[in-house]
């Protein structure tokens, strides 16, 4: 699979522009742009410059350690990895249904994670671009600048994130890298004091989330030409939805739609995700390229995350967020919205959904129950899928009879969006950079497109030993005397 501007014909003769590091994203990445002598864009690529390799070093570890270990992939969305792994290992310990307490504690933890991560992204990372302009004064284009000019917005962002982290602390034991979810359940419930403490703030939190949706919507609608076209491209959409088609970010069935909104597949049991999804490895990136198997690599790539989820579900089961979803769908006039910057609007709708879900769970007495763990008959394999803040997250493990992990496959949200992010920056490069003298403000346009996806680059690089390579041994006269070629491997664990 390749797309326009992915690979230039004669890269050695072109000028190279590098944006490194990418700022205001999680992890470390860079973008390379190749320009010809007339400054026309010939090639644009998003690269991930760090390497994680959790799929490899999880091998040999006891299965119950995995949810705690793999969450170290990330400091922003550790809960997502923690829960996806725990869901996979529920299957390994033979559990298909948790106790109501365990299920609701995990949901509470997850919606706390969605809340804090979405707040972090919108307020701290993206709002400087959106409030000040993509090529505004770079010295002010940051959260400190936002706090100076819009103190209420910055304050609400900080407090929303703090509340989400408190929800995580109460359910997982720590704000970052806790231990709450264990195979077959959870290790703690919520106490009355913890519940009261969170309930004290939840009404403010919901009000602030509603304001955040209004802000994201206003930004989009007041500059609708720019927001609709910037980095926009059509693609398929993928996410989990609840069995009834409603939004559910913790558990559900897989649904994919094409760019017109028509169903590609629906009600798919994610425990056999590989029947529907597969990945391609390309020589220039540590990050793999997933696609829908039935459509092939060229047509099968897709978007995940808020823009996909809000449009993939049939309804949102909380009232304020559902009203906002309806307004967003109306904005699309019967067609899916493919505007990259609409990620922000939909992300804030999910922020509101998370807050309303937390409120509902805090009023549910099950979260104070004492039936925490169940066990069944051991199985060899487990798949856990969750809708992480950035999109669909798949954890897949095979465990041997001695209880050790022997294979792991992690397809993280940012990896699902790999092709989509590359498409977005290529569109932006062509529209805004082509033939022009490059400035910091123009290059920031590229970063704005990447930021819309809220990528987590540190989570996304696991292709150890799978990258294709081509080695040539050249003698002193420049003659090739030996060649070693290894093609990419693609295998389900």
């Amino acid at each position: 699979m390749s797309s326009e501007l992915e690979t230039a014909a004669n890269p050695a003769r072109l000028k190279r522009v590098v944006i490194e590091p990418l700022s205001r994203v999680e992890g470390h990445g860079k973008i390379t742009i190749l320009l010809d002598n007339d400054d026309h864009v010939q090639q644009v690529r998003l690269h991930i410059v760090e390497f994680r390799g959790f799929e490899k070093f999880i091998q040999g570890r006891p299965y119950w350690e995995i949810p705690v270990m793999v969450q170290r992939l990330c400091g922003i969305c550790p809960v997502s990895h923690h829960l996806a792994a725990a869901k996979a290992l529920d299957q390994v310990v033979g559990v298909d249904h948790l106790t109501p307490t365990a299920d609701k504690i995990r949901r509470l933890m997850h919606y706390g994670q969605i809340l804090q991560s979405h707040a972090l992204h919108f307020f701290h990372l993206s709002s400087p671009d959106l409030l000040f302009g993509f090529d505004s004064d770079v010295a002010r284009r940051n959260i400190v600048g936002v706090a100076a000019k819009y103190p209420d917005i910055a304050r609400q962002g900080v407090l929303l994130r703090r509340f989400g982290q408190e929800v995580i602390r109460v359910t997982a034991g720590k704000r970052v890298h806790g231990t709450g979810a264990i195979p077959g359940g959870v290790n703690k419930a919520v106490t009355q004091a913890e519940r009261d403490e969170l309930l004290e703030d939840i009404y403010h939190v919901i009000a602030w989330c509603r304001s955040a949706v209004e802000l994201a919507k206003r930004l989009h609608l007041t500059n609708v030409g720019l927001y609709n076209s910037f980095g926009a491209f059509r693609s398929n959409l993928l996410s989990l939805v609840a069995p009834d088609g409603g939004m559910d970010l913790y558990h559900g069935v897989m649904r994919a739609r094409d760019s017109n909104g028509d169903i590609i597949f629906d009600k798919v049991d994610y425990s056999r995700y590989w029947d529907h999804l597969t990945e391609e490895v390309r020589p220039w990136s540590y990050m793999k390229f997933p696609y829908i198997r039935a459509l092939g690599a060229d047509a099968g790539w897709y978007k995940v995350g808020p823009l996909a989820r809000v449009q993939n579900c049939d309804h949102i089961p909380t009232p304020f967020a559902e009203a906002e979803r309806c307004e967003f769908v109306d904005f699309g006039s019967g067609q899916p919205v493919h505007a990259t910057l609409a990620y922000h609007w939909t992300r804030m709708i999910e922020l509101l959904f998370a807050a309303e879900s937390i409120k509902g769970l805090l009023h549910d007495d099950d979260i104070m129950g004492d039936e925490l763990v169940v066990r069944g008959e051991r199985r060899e394999r487990g798949v856990g899928v969750i809708e992480a803040p950035r999109g669909t997250l798949i954890h897949h493990y095979r465990i041997n009879e001695d209880d050790q992990a022997v294979r792991a496959n992690l397809i993280v949200s940012t990896t699902h969006n790999n092709q989509a992010m590359n498409e977005a920056i290529r569109h932006v490069a062509k529209r805004y950079l082509d033939g022009r003298k490059l400035t910091e403000g123009l290059l920031n346009h590229i970063e704005v497109a990447i930021r819309a996806f809220d990528p987590c680059l540190s989570c996304a690089t696991h292709a150890l030993g799978k990258m294709p390579f081509h080695v040539e041994l050249i003698d002193a006269e420049g003659q090739c005397i030996d060649t070693l070629v290894k093609s990419s491997l693609e295998r389900c664990p």
Binding site: W64, V68, G178, P183
Partner: protein, 250 residues
Amino acid sequence: MTAEGKTASFQLDGATVPFEPGQTVIQAALAAGHYIPHLCYHPEFKPHGSCRVCTVEVDGRTVASCTLQAQDGMEVLSQSDRLRKEHQTLVQMLFVEGNHFCPSCEQSGNCRLQAVAYDLDIMSAELDHLFPNRPVDASHPEILLEFNRCILCELCVRASAEVDGKNVFALSGRGITKHLIVNAESGRLADTDIAVTDKAMEVCPVGVILRKGVGFRVPIGERRFDRQPISAQAREDAPRRPTTGNEDST
């Protein structure tokens, strides 16, 4: 009691510590609520003196307090800048000799090595890691051996031999290559008669001998060293009568 009928005592960092005849310095200190860092000492076993983390100073000489007999009028120093540095270095050497990954270790919060390190304000190993190759033994259906964390305290060796009467464990090799082994022809734990109710299952100060499938059941905040630092729990390690393995362990 001294010959004059007074309770025998020694001075520990300026505090008077009474002791019973036959007690070592660390036994008397812990019984009186005075903490001296330690790892291979266990209140139910004879002092061993292998880790040296309990090093104190007596008459300008450094000595392991777990093997030093208490004497009336003795002056013992356990807290000084020099001793603290020595304690830190001893613990740091234990960290680099094994493979200790606290962030994903199920003993985190209950691990004595970690607790002692926190108590000594050790924020990094400072020394070069040796990264030994120590594969785990997962062969037993109920018990996992995570050799990477072994600090060679020999408590499991002693518990298995002296209490359980089984000799499941032993140390092999010398010097830096010394390591814990399983006493079976195959070298596999599955081929021994160890049971989850054995005393050897209880005594590991780190996270080598683990009951399978129960890791992380205790939430953060309720683990032993979440409640109080190890230095505030001295009396829990006061000498006590030996018990057999945990009969309730199911």
